[in-house]
Amino acid sequence: MHFFNPLLRLSYTRPKTTLLALFATTLLMAGGLKQLETRNSFDGELPADDPINQGIEAAKATFGERSIVLIGLETESIYTPEAAQKIIDISNELAKVPHVLSDEIVSLATLSNVSQREWGLETGGFLDELPADEAAWQQLKADIAGNAMVLDRLVSADESLTVIAAALEEGFEGGTVYDAVSELADHYAGPERIHITGAPVLVEDVQRGISGDSRRFIPIAIVLIFIGFYISFRRLPGVLLPVGMVIMSILWTMGFMGYAGLPVTVVSNALPVIMVAVASSYAIHFMNAYYRLADQHSTGPALAEATLKKIGLPILITGLTSALGSASLLIFKITSLREFGIIGSVGFLLATVICLTFLPAVCALLKPPAGKAYQSARLQRFLRSLTQMAQGHRRAVAASYVLFLVGAVYFIGQVKIGDDYLKFFPKSHQGRIAAETFNDKLSGVRTMDIVVDATPYGGIKDEAFFRSLNGFQDYLMDYEEVGHTYSYRDVVQHLSANLNGETDALPGSSEIAQYLMLHEMSATPGEVFALRSEDDNQARIQVFLKSSDPEVHQALYEDIQRDAARFFPEGNTPLTFGGDVMHRIALGTYIVEGKVQNIILALLIVFLSCLIIFRSLPKSLMALLPITVSLLMVFGLMGVIGIRLGISTALLTAMIVGIGVDFAVHYLVGYFRDREEMPADEAIKHNSLHTGQAIAYDAASNIAGFSVLSFSGFLPVQHFGWLLALSMLLIFLNTMVLYPALLTQKERQLATPEFA
């Protein structure tokens, strides 16, 4: 505190100047809000040198980036004039949607087909003309059933669903596409159900959800804090001052984000609420001490000075430890988590500065409040019972903890890794319903692209390569979760079957070349180049996955890598992977790798900070105890309930350690201060009641604040919110049970009254 004393002294010696300076700074920081941007995609989340990322980029460079909007038409049977006409109309209207590549719309209305007829080959679109009679409808059904590229991919086997897919140009505006496609869906809905989904739609939903969340959360959180402060202090300044401080902290932090170019993401979306919880907990400790000391001082500046002296150091320590805890997120290689680490650190430091300047400055201008500080009798009774129980039943407490922790460690092993993008949304979300319908009725909406290098074979037209590719695709189809695979092999086989009749024999090199030539003659360049590279040395296999579980994708990816050499013995690195699931696989890997490092680093940072503060190894280890125990319990609970460790929940450790350590620091600082004046047993009881009350208010405000996140439209944010709220409750209980039990045991073991 020595370094900061002259600065902090200004707050109560020159309160008006301090407030003016804070007001000016608030105006300046609020200017950064205008520059605040939202980033809703996961592109750029991975490090550039990551091998999976490099593969994705390589696949993009050869085959282009394809963001696909999917429109599903679901009805009893799509083989009716009304439904067929809608397929045609929607396909035509989609072509006019801004940013849609009009020659890359795939539907029954656009796709060319080759079918064998008695008189020769029928070529043309499935719906070039609406079938005029029953025979024509039966012919259309037969053509679709006989085309493996269409059945289960564009049309469900039960005839109830068909998909219209549109590729978007690079650099498309998600909002424009979303609005236009939603309008189309509304226009054509009824009696058929029109579904819209696909990554661009879901990403836009995330963006809109983020904006909606932010608008909803901040007011709710502030109202909750209002109520919380009123319950805690029962005085108007006790409500208004902390709320003012909270609002300033949010403005400063979000302004910093704007100036620093750090965008709002699905992760940093939670920041305002976290700031409400954290900043209010600093304010609670300050105001608690302020009201407690009020009867000892007659002037505002004297009371403000005394409050700062009593509580300034613990608040500074907790601010620093929270900031350092958040900084531990920098160990992740995932961009939005790293960004959150920076934002959190800066935010917590700013909140500390505001707490230690704004609150004493205003308090210095106020007359000291009359009367005793409010104490909740019920809370006091609860804290007393908890302390007595912990002190009196130390063995039972120890046994219960051992039991709990063994269970927690077991269930931590069951925690599933990685985010399922679809499950960001609640079950009632239209994009999720659509994607799940497509998964159930078609071959799946998640895709893995596998680019196979045919250079060692002399190109994709080589029959040996074709044989290998054929075997490889058959191997992929053996996986239950693979709904469909699509490559130039399927085009060649379809043409071969129609020109030669069904045969088991694979075509030779010249046949392959000529069938591909035929495909070129009927397909658009977009369709052709989605399957083959310009030089015909690379083939792209699109693998449609029915499962949306990232761990299933990861296992499949590992299997394919292991087995690829069996099919493609020529060349060293025949496969490159792309597609939307690859991003998630890489993110999952980094989350696991980063999570372990993050836990170790966060605990280490907090431990070292406590070592500097307490200058004692046992005290520093003690400070880690409640948060470590709570961490194990929370992660164990995630394993029990089945909450995934994903990009949002990965923040938990940093938040639990960074924020949770506050309780430990306040408790230990209070205890050792009391211990200087009274015997150990009395110090434990006194501290548990007095510091314990502030910690209880702190925990309650955190729980209330974090609970707001449960109202989010995104399940990971909801999970993050209530898990964090639960963590705060656990840390509070663990602090209030473990410390009295341990300190009592320690004091009784040691003959000396000194601990440390």
Partner: protein
């Protein structure tokens, strides 16, 4: 007096333009041939810049089934692995064309369903309707209006608007034509959809005489699809016009036995 005379001559020469029908009739005559052979290399270029190049030999022979209907044989010569692949089209006056496909790998020809006007020719940005118009502009089906004169690629050209006559089934609601003044060949065309949207732009360059019969041909053409961003470029060489083509070539037997 001299000044007045000059003024009258100038006014006369700038305001009295040929009739639109006369220009289009001259255009049809300029493109009409009894037979034509030549090599063409086309390159399809996707919006993202990916290219695909094929070379083929074309044989065209006017039929006796209508004034301006043709038999068209196209045989791929490059790349080698598709050499010999051929398509045969027999145009019919006011009827669907007949089409056959020959794949050397199958050693037999297959009849294929007639292409629709809007189908893409050989996967290029040129549709069968465009191709038909390229061989012979269907002047009875359109109403032409002369809009003026402009210079296209350094050559003076008549600018005309072509609107389909009522009842005509076409993919285009309007075309703007630029007819080269010197040769009456099509120098440029803008194709518009039925809602007035600009669909494609055709440009012909390197217009040179072919043979000694007074014929000219553009040796390079380009079709840009404004909607999709895809382009097809065609390079012609070895034109021979009215030099005689064996009618027996335009049969499935010829494709299968040559």
């Amino acid at each position: 007096m001299i000044l007045a005379f000059t003024l009258v001559v100038t006014l006369f020469s700038t305001t009295v333009l040929p009739d639109a029908s006369a220009i289009m009739e001259a255009h049809r005559k300029a493109t009409a041939v009894q037979d034509l052979t030549g090599q063409l290399t086309y390159t399809n270029i996707s919006k993202s810049g990916r290219k695909q190049t094929r070379t083929l030999q074309q044989y065209i022979l006017r039929t006796d089934k209508g004034d301006y209907t043709y038999n068209l044989l196209l045989e791929f010569t490059d790349p080698q692995d598709v050499a010999g692949t051929a398509t045969l089209t027999i145009q019919q006056e006011r009827k669907d064309d007949e089409q056959w496909l020959y794949l050397p790998a199958l050693r037999m020809s297959k009849r294929i369903s007639p292409s629709k006007k809007s189908d893409r020719f050989m996967g290029t940005e040129i549709t069968y309707e465009d191709l038909s118009g390229h061989l012979s502009e269907p002047i009875d089906d359109y109403q032409y209006t002369l809009l003026g004169e402009e210079t296209i690629n350094g050559r003076p050209a008549y600018k005309l608007e072509a609107l389909p006559r009522e009842g005509l089934r076409t993919q285009y609601g309007k075309r703007l034509l630029w007819i080269d003044k010197a040769t009456h060949l099509m120098a440029q065309t803008h194709f518009f959809g039925h809602k007035g949207e600009h669909l494609k732009t055709y440009t012909a360059t390197d217009i040179r005489p072919v043979g000694s019969g007074g014929h000219h041909r553009a040796h390079q053409i380009k079709m840009e699809n404004v909607q999709t961003g895809n382009t097809t470029k065609v390079q012609y060489s070895g034109f021979a016009i009215n030099a005689g083509v064996d009618a027996a070539m335009f049969s499935t037997t010829w494709m299968e036995t040559r």
